[in-house]
């Protein structure tokens, strides 16, 4: 059953099954019933991370250095936990920009630069080839072990010619297989649904195979895990080997490997392919972010038990990398080893398939197409049907990549263990991380910075990992590894700048990333971005901004016909018709193409050729200002500013609302004050003009009337004097009022007796009132009324009250009564008259400036020559009383039936 024909038949049968699954997946996709529209399939496809290196190598590494192999799976777990932030953004960018590979992604970010894209593709090709070699080695090695066991487990490839070397044929078979289902058609989105379905299936197969071996070893060859562990515990040699202290490089080794695995998980071309390019729905990330780590746990569950068992039992002088296979073989089984071989085969082929497709896409889109498009001699861009060309280039690339892998495997593959080769590739892929991740979050990263950083990181990787590997294989003299280049100790590849005691991967990663990031950031700070670069940088860093999804970026001009012929040359007639299908068909081909249509055409071309080449092609048919740069940047600027502003607004909204309210109120108050001021000025001028009118009129009469009778002359002169006095009084009152309102009225409050003050005031006006015929009655019920007040001002108030009362008292028998009473802790001075009284609605208005009560009787106050008031006396009086802490108001007169004004002042403290 372990004969070559049987094994080969099973292997080919398995490949055929894969092909069927892939074909089925593709057909379903064409019918619009995708089989990969499930987060589980997505998570399983990501498990292409577990290659033959995991399948065979984990056990090998566990046997050599304990549980340190787990760090390689901790990195991706960490990355998946961050999926909602980081990977989601990558997926969003890739889908809006129609990204086809990691090289395309980085090229697009830095202004669709074809040189940067080519650089990434080249580094990927060099860095990943060993990894492909590793898979070929695993397949041939496992085949050899399976067929030859228990003899000749060691297998020297380089000793034989390549046509008898099985791995050469494995490479060729895989090449044919990949061409068959990887390049069947050129999809605008560069998605391979059939391939993803097949890869997900392979992930299941390898998991099942590994779990089967694990269960067999632990429960059949041993009596469960306790039996196994107790046997290990009895062997001091094994206890040491499997301890945590066996990690190469110690703590730095753990951290270094963790970072390495974390970065590589995102930047390995095949991981980028399944994680980002083949993602059909952003929401799948959610389930994948825990399902994939779970898968990793499952597939690593039996690694240590198998390694322990392999070291305990006599399985021949086999390499620990083959324990998975040799353990069941040593138990004399036939079926399980075959299943393990298939599992290993699926792990290896899965990786090779995805990696090769990803690399061939890069080679064709980033390396070959740009060269062909630029080459003047070929004039490819003006030739006819080119869709076939593209596929041809990809197919040739696939064959070349696999042959390169074989070459590496044949030349130096044997000098490294599986794990070692894998980590070398990881370190190469990790060089993409700075340009990728920093570019996604820092808008200022420039193309020059990214390119130089990448080149620096790559050269350090070559010097510290790749060349020493060549040296170990004998292709270079090992002297420079031991003594440094040209004998300079600080240039030793494993101890650069004297950094010793680190494991070679952490050491290489540290220096390469340090140079890479340092140059990227440093150079970016001193270089400028082209307009296209600025736009792309803005689009990438703001990818999660929903406003950008629907922006038309083109405003150049071309016709539908030109666009159509361009698309059909590269994508074929059917695809072109589909892409332009939703446009109105009744348009003429010479009509100008709308911006949205140009944008869609560029996206479609990007999906097939990569963004850089697509841009070159679109530029060849579009005239004028191709890109509406200003509007894009303004959208971005305004939206980011708006977001920032909103955040700040939110923080301060309450405060601002309050300030706004206060401002509104203040404004209202100012308006009102302004209106009052205007009114006041108008009234003042009116009040001043009235006495002035009399003064001027009589002065002129006196001037012109030389022969005026003496009595008239004296009368008129008296009027002039009286009106002048009125004018002075008015001015005095206006000034008082102004002082009161501005708070500058100077009062000199002192303790005084209101009884005495009232008597004094009454004496001052008594004769005047009597002269005018007013009867004044004074009733003071208290002996003493101590209050705090300014005596002059208070007297002014009392006289004003008495004057007012006299003015409004009855014409025929004017009577005024003043009385002083105590009211709790206050004294009340009331002045009432027997006039018409004040209507309740008027009672507050009498305290308004210039308010004059309508006299009911037209002759009021005139008959007895009583002077008219200015309308300022009461407002001033109220102001003074209020300043002294008292009140002044109007009531009905209790005795005389007219109005009663009451002044209330607080009793002064003892």
């Amino acid at each position: 059953m372990r004969t070559d024909p049987v094994v080969l038949t099973v292997a080919f049968g398995y490949l055929a099954l894969l092909f069927v699954i892939a074909a089925w997946g593709d057909r379903r996709a064409e019918q619009g019933r995708s089989v990969i529209g499930s987060p589980t399939v997505y998570a399983l496809s990501i498990a292409v991370y577990c290659t033959a290196w995991t399948f065979y190598g984990s056990v090998g590494r566990a046997a050599e250095s304990g549980p340190s192999f787990l760090v390689i799976y901790l990195g991706p777990t960490l990355a998946m936990l961050m999926a909602p932030f980081m990977i989601r953004k990558m997926v969003r960018i890739a889908s809006t920009q129609r990204i086809t590979s990691i090289a395309d992604f980085i090229s697009a970010r830095y202004g669709k630069s074809s040189s940067l894209g080519a650089l990434v593709a080249l580094i990927a090709l060099i860095g990943i080839t060993p990894y492909i070699a590793l898979q070929l080695k695993a397949i041939t090695l496992s085949h050899a072990v399976l067929v030859n066991y228990p003899d000749a487990a060691e297998f020297r490839l380089a000793d034989e010619s390549f046509w008898v070397d099985k791995s050469f044929w494995v490479a060729l078979v895989l090449a044919v297989f990949i061409i068959l289902f990887g390049t069947r058609h050129l999809d605008a989105s560069e998605r391979h649904e059939g391939m993803v379905a097949a890869i997900a299936f392979e992930s299941l197969v390898k998991l099942v195979a590994f779990l089967t071996v694990g269960v067999f070893v632990v429960f059949v060859m041993f009596n469960g895990p306790f039996d196994l562990f107790s046997q290990v515990a009895e062997s001091p040699r094994l206890v040491g080997a499997l301890g945590l202290d066996a990690v190469p490089g110690g703590a730095t080794g753990w951290v270094g490997t963790l970072v390495l695995a974390f970065l590589a998980f995102l930047t390995l071309p095949r991981q980028f392919q399944v994680l980002v390019v083949e993602n059909v729905d952003e929401r799948h990330l959610k389930r994948a972010s825990w399902l994939f780590p779970l898968y990793l746990v499952a597939i690593n569950l039996f690694v240590i038990p198998i390694a322990m068992a392999g070291m305990l039992l006599p399985v021949g002088n086999s390499d620990p990398d083959s324990f998975v296979l040799t353990l069941p073989l040593s138990a004399g089984l036939e079926g399980i080893p075959l299943l393990v071989f298939i599992g290993g085969l699926s792990a290896a082929t899965g990786m090779v398939i995805v990696e090769t497709i990803a690399l061939s896409t890069m080679v064709s889109n980033q390396l070959v197409m740009p060269l062909l498009l630029r080459s003047k001699r070929l004039q490819l861009s003006s030739q006819g049907e080119l869709a076939g060309w593209l596929l041809g280039i990809r197919r040739v690339a696939i064959v070349l990549i696999l042959l390169l892998g074989y070459l590496y495997h044949a030349l130096i593959g044997d000098s490294y263990s599986l794990v070692t080769i894998g980590l070398v590739s990881f370190a190469a892929a990790a060089q993409f991380a700075p340009a990728l991740l920093i570019g996604m979050y820092w808008r200022g990263a420039t193309r020059v910075g990214a390119s130089l950083g990448l080149i620096a990181g790559f050269f350090i990787w070559v010097y510290t990992l790749l060349l020493p590997g060549f040296a170990q294989s004998g292709w270079l003299t090992p002297a420079f590894v031991e003594q440094g280049l040209w004998g300079m100790a600080w240039l030793r590849p494993y101890a650069l700048f004297g950094l010793e005691g680190w494991d070679i991967y952490s050491h290489s990663l540290l220096w390469s990333l340090l140079a890479n990031v340092g140059i990227l950031v440093g150079v970016s700070l001193f270089t400028r971005q082209s307009p296209l670069e600025q736009t792309q940088a803005a689009l990438f860093t703001n990818a999660m901004n929903p406003e950008l999804q629907h922006t038309s970026l083109w405003r150049g001009q071309t016709t539908r016909g030109e666009l159509q012929s361009l698309l059909s040359r590269y994508l074929g007639a059917n695809a072109t018709a589909r892409i332009l299908a939703d446009q109105k068909s009744n348009r003429d081909n010479s009509d100008p193409a709308p911006p949205a249509m140009i944008a869609r055409a560029e996206q479609a071309l990007s999906g097939a050729l990569g963004s850089a080449s697509a841009r070159v092609l679109i530029n060849s048919v579009v005239r004028g200002e191709a890109l509406d740069l200003e509007s894009i940047l303004s959208i971005l600027d305004t939206t980011s500013q708006t977001l920032e502003y909103n955040r700040r607004l939110e923080q301060k909204s309450n405060e601002l609302a309050k300030i706004g309210e206060e401002l509104r109120a203040a404004n209202e108050r100012l308006r009102e004050l302004d209106r009052l001021k205007d009114e006041f000025v108008a009234m003042v001028s009116h009040e001043l003009r009235t006495p002035l009118t009399s003064i001027r009129a009589f002065a002129e009469i006196l001037r012109d009337g030389k022969d005026l009778p003496e009595d008239k002359r004296i009368h008129f002169l008296e009027v002039v004097v009286l009106e002048s006095q009125r004018l002075s009084r008015l001015i005095e009152e206006i000034l008082d009022l102004a002082r009161l309102e501005s708070g500058r009225l100077t009062l000199t409050p002192q303790k005084l007796d209101l009884v005495a003050l009232t008597q004094h005031s009454v004496d001052a006006v008594h004769r005047l009132q009597e002269d005018r015929g007013v009867t004044l009655q004074v009733d003071i019920d208290v002996d003493e009324a101590p209050v705090i007040g300014d005596p002059d001002r208070l007297e002014q108030v009392i006289i004003n009250l008495l004057d007012n009362a006299g003015k409004f008292a009855d014409d025929d028998d004017p009577r005024v009564r003043l009385y002083l009473t105590q009211h709790k802790q206050h004294y009340r001075l009331s002045v009432e008259d027997n006039g018409p009284g004040i209507a309740p609605v008027e009672r507050e208005r009498v305290f308004e400036k210039f308010h004059q009560i309508k006299r009911l009787s037209s002759s009021a106050g005139k008959a007895k020559g009583r002077p008219r008031g200015s309308g300022l006396g009461l407002p001033i009086s109220r102001g003074i009383v209020a300043h002294l802490g008292g009140r002044l108001w109007v009531e009905d007169a209790p005795q005389l039936q007219g109005a009663c004004l009451i002044m209330e002042l607080p009793q002064a403290p003892e």
Binding site: A682, S685, H686, E687, R689, T690, L692, T693, S694, I695, R696, A697, F698, E700, I701, D704, G705, K712, V719, L722, E723, Q852, K854, R855, S858, K862, R868
Partner: protein
């Protein structure tokens, strides 16, 4: 002899105008508010009115409006007197049909000239 009605609530201003008008040879009737002015006009229509705007009760504008609405007094010469010097009020007065608008304090000579010219026109 032409009769002039003086309407103002300031006794001294009425006194001065009364003297000026009599000196110029006119009969003078006085009123100190709008109501009594209208009553006076109804009783014995004057040949000219000197009408203050700020009056107790109804204003000078009200009096002017009522008189102009009455066809009998539509062409009665009316001079508005006011201590408000605002353009708006002047316009309002003229719009309501006042013949002249005099701001206080006024020139006595100018006032007498205006009254004389209006009365000549009227005659």
């Amino acid at each position: 002899m032409a009769k002039v009605l003086v309407v103002d609530d300031e006794p001294n201003i009425v006194l001065s105008i009364e003297f000026l008008m009599q000196q110029a040879g006119f009969d003078v009737v006085t009123a100190e508010d709008g109501e009594s002015a209208l009553e006076s006009v109804a009783e014995t229509p004057p040949d000219l009115i000197l009408l203050d705007i700020s009056l107790p009760g109804i204003s000078g504008f009200d009096v002017l409006e009522q008189l102009r609405n009455d066809p009998r007094h539509a062409r009665l010469p009316i001079i508005m007197l006011t201590a408000h010097g605002r353009e708006v009020e002047k316009e309002k007065g003229l719009a309501l049909g006042a013949d002249e608008y005099v701001t206080k304090p006024f020139s006595t000579q100018a006032l007498v000239e205006k009254v004389k010219s209006l009365l000549v026109e009227d005659a």
